[in-house]
Symmetry: C2
Subunit: 276 residues, 2 copies
């Protein structure tokens, strides 16, 4: 998905958000914002938001000297997610919903809200688009599934989804992760948690979305041959929307007007759609 | 008031807002955002938000060829304000409150909300800081008052304030306006509405706030000698805070975290404070 003018201010604000998270002084924050502004000027409207986010986060790393600037937030999100009582998840559709709700865990938030309560509240809502039935039918015949991970923290719920699927079906699950720390996205390091139920695949991708141009050959081959690909979160949607030739199940929460307009839905809606 | 890192994204988003208001195509919007980003890089943390806003709006004018890009919104805001039944305003303190509430009229808003209802609701709230008593005492002895206008639309309510003051006191009111169209700020053109009750003063200032460095000699002289100066809106606060040597009554609604932090108040609070 190409950026729209709205994405520009949004991407700049992400730099500010990281500056605050790292408690940087005003001068360093200004340096980061200036460099981000330069990056935004250098990119044109044919790039995707994740492609630009990659450059911005690399600049933040270079300026701060932090290879993984939000590592502490990632650890906190994982801890919080692991505390959740998930006994209410009784089926694969339940697990799909918890997995997408995990996407509301914001890396910048201090988790001062009651996560369990937030999840229960969101769990009572329906998907705006729900291709769950098609997914269940495809599962019957599937041998290999790809799940493209998104944020750290929600990967705890992805694990539950994989376990629920494997309880009923004999499938190999490949769990795709980013090739390098980018925002709070799950990498090989965080994904170790899933190593007993899934084949962790380092995609080599440095953008916060599975960008086909960046994907290494190994992940591309699995991506192409898998019976089912399930891409989580808005970053993967932005990278794959209208790019991939194969069918993909997109599982995400609409978080901005640009994506909302692209798919004709509202902000905050939960989406589970087999290709767009 | 110097900018903080938060102001950078906010100023960029104002460019986007104007782009949308003018219904510009994506390429022109990108051009405006790129130029705005350059301007933000060129300014450092010692500048005020209105100083940067001036450069951004001049760039928008240059790119679009519109000398007053939001002129239609200004006309609409004035029309909407003039429709309001203000019979509930019975005193100078009432008029002060309506005058600051006028500051919620957003130039970008389509006025789809019920303005009368919004005003009545806000009118029931109290000022977070209210130096109204000191103001009334000073009015007793005042001969010349300066009111520094802010947004077009709210100037209709400023007129009512001036009329209420003049009903009780024999004072000359100088109404300060910007020297050129900048955002939706009131200029000589819009201020004609007040010419029968106030002396309209073109300050020559091109920033969306009465910047002392830009003010022409005529307005500076009146500013220095007036018995009372009342500066409206956040732009004037940002330009004058810790800059002016004389006492000023600041009358505004807190609209952002940066100003909220500077004065130790919350967003949305109404402020009427004799100097800071």
């Amino acid at each position: 998905m190409h950026i729209k003018p709205d994405c520009i201010g949004c991407l700049l604000n992400q730099s500010l958000k990281v500056s605050k998270l790292l408690e940087l002084d005003d001068d360093t924050s200004k340096k980061i914002l200036d460099r981000s502004a330069e990056i935004l000027i250098d990119h044109d409207l044919s790039d995707t938001p994740p492609q630009i986010a990659k450059d911005i986060y690399q600049a933040i790393s270079a300026i701060t000297g932090e290879e993984d600037p939000v590592s502490l937030s990632k650890e906190r999100a994982t801890r919080e997610a692991m505390k959740i009582d998930t006994s209410f998840v009784q089926s694969i559709p339940d697990a799909l919903k918890l997995s997408v709700i995990g996407n509301v865990i914001d890396f910048g938030a201090q988790n001062q809200f009651d996560l369990q309560e937030t999840i229960q509240k969101q769990f009572g809502l329906s998907f705006a688009i729900d291709d769950g039935e098609a997914f269940m039918r495809e599962l019957e015949k599937a041998r290999e599934i790809v799940i493209i991970g998104d944020n750290t923290g929600e990967h705890v719920f992805d694990k539950l989804l994989i376990e629920m699927i494997q309880k009923e079906y004999d499938v190999l699950v490949h769990y795709f992760v980013r090739g390098t720390p980018i925002i709070n996205d799950v990498t090989v390091k965080e994904a170790q948690l899933l190593s007993d139920c899934a084949h962790i695949v380092d995609t080599g991708v440095e953008t916060p979305g599975y960008d086909l141009e960046e994907a290494n050959a190994a992940s591309r081959e699995i991506f192409d041959r898998a019976d089912i690909v399930l891409a989580k979160g808005m970053g993967n949607f932005e990278s794959l929307y209208q790019q991939a030739e194969r069918d993909i199940y997109f599982l995400f929460i609409v978080k901005c007007t640009v994506v909302a307009q692209a798919i004709g839905q509202e902000i905050k809606e939960m989406i589970f759609k087999r290709s767009f």
